[in-house]
Point group: C3
Chain length 133, copies 3
Amino acid sequence: MFYYSEVLFKSLKRTHWVDITSDVQQSIQQSAIENGLCTISSLHTTGSVTLNENADPDVEADFFKKLNELIPQEKYFRHSEGNSDSHLKTSLVGLSVQLPVRNGHLVLGTWQSVYFCEFDGPRNRKVSVTIIG
Amino acid sequence: MFYYSEVLFKSLKRTHWVDITSDVQQSIQQSAIENGLCTISSLHTTGSVTLNENADPDVEADFFKKLNELIPQEKYFRHSEGNSDSHLKTSLVGLSVQLPVRNGHLVLGTWQSVYFCEFDGPRNRKVSVTIIG
Amino acid sequence: MFYYSEVLFKSLKRTHWVDITSDVQQSIQQSAIENGLCTISSLHTTGSVTLNENADPDVEADFFKKLNELIPQEKYFRHSEGNSDSHLKTSLVGLSVQLPVRNGHLVLGTWQSVYFCEFDGPRNRKVSVTIIG
């Protein structure tokens, strides 16, 4: 069985995490697939999909402070849109995550949530959810 | 066909690679799936799953020396557990790898092994192995 | 349904992007799978697979300038081949990408292409394409 859907949302700042866990879980329920593999992919080149801590918001703040310190908007960047830092961060954090589906639910660790990782917001964003079972 | 299993192990240091290739291969044998896709995912937010060199242990030493130099435990981190470096490294190295299964075996390159990449050990860890075929 | 193929090519410089989007699309056509999941994986430990911008070549130049600045060939690396920087970059950018297949076509965002990300070329390289549907 194959199920495809898209999750649409707005990011609010240049860099932040958007929690899309419940949207993904909703796609799984709509798919009616009980056991399989769920792939969540960014359809952009300046925003990633990842898993990370869902409890303490300081983790998100530290994550972006350090990453933006390592990869700032360098003056030497030639790309005219001025967001080459966002393109590099997107490939480093990665475009997608894959998670098992069991008994109609995402298999996540206790502290894991699914995040769209915005590196060049605020923008309208779109993520694909593909379920095979 | 769908097969799900979990691999449990202990990491031994704050940062190191744990080779889980043979555990994954064992899951494939138990699944009896001959051809398909195998997804190996970390169930944590301070440890990744990746592929890397299986021959010279100096690669592992250089890997962590450089990565820990780039992303140390910064004094400015606000997350009270003091492991924000581990959370960032986990999203950068990534939560999972996907590999083809052919004739009941993982398709790996000559120099590739599957590693759990520990960023905040020593700990008890758990990785999911999902096979679709 | 399961389809496996390999894409072979030569990289031309120590670090650059090789666009393999049309090779992947060709594999999908050969598979005759209409709807499913396509996984593109590097069979190496010094070269990644990622998605990134397909329009302005300055993005590629900025990407490698910044990444090579962060992770140069350090004199302290002990691995005798002298390419520990390539091994680290490979795990950071990641070994594979997963994309939905709909109506016989890869689902890519407007600005996305599939790249082999060479970190230790020039070399002969091989990428696996696995399609499940």
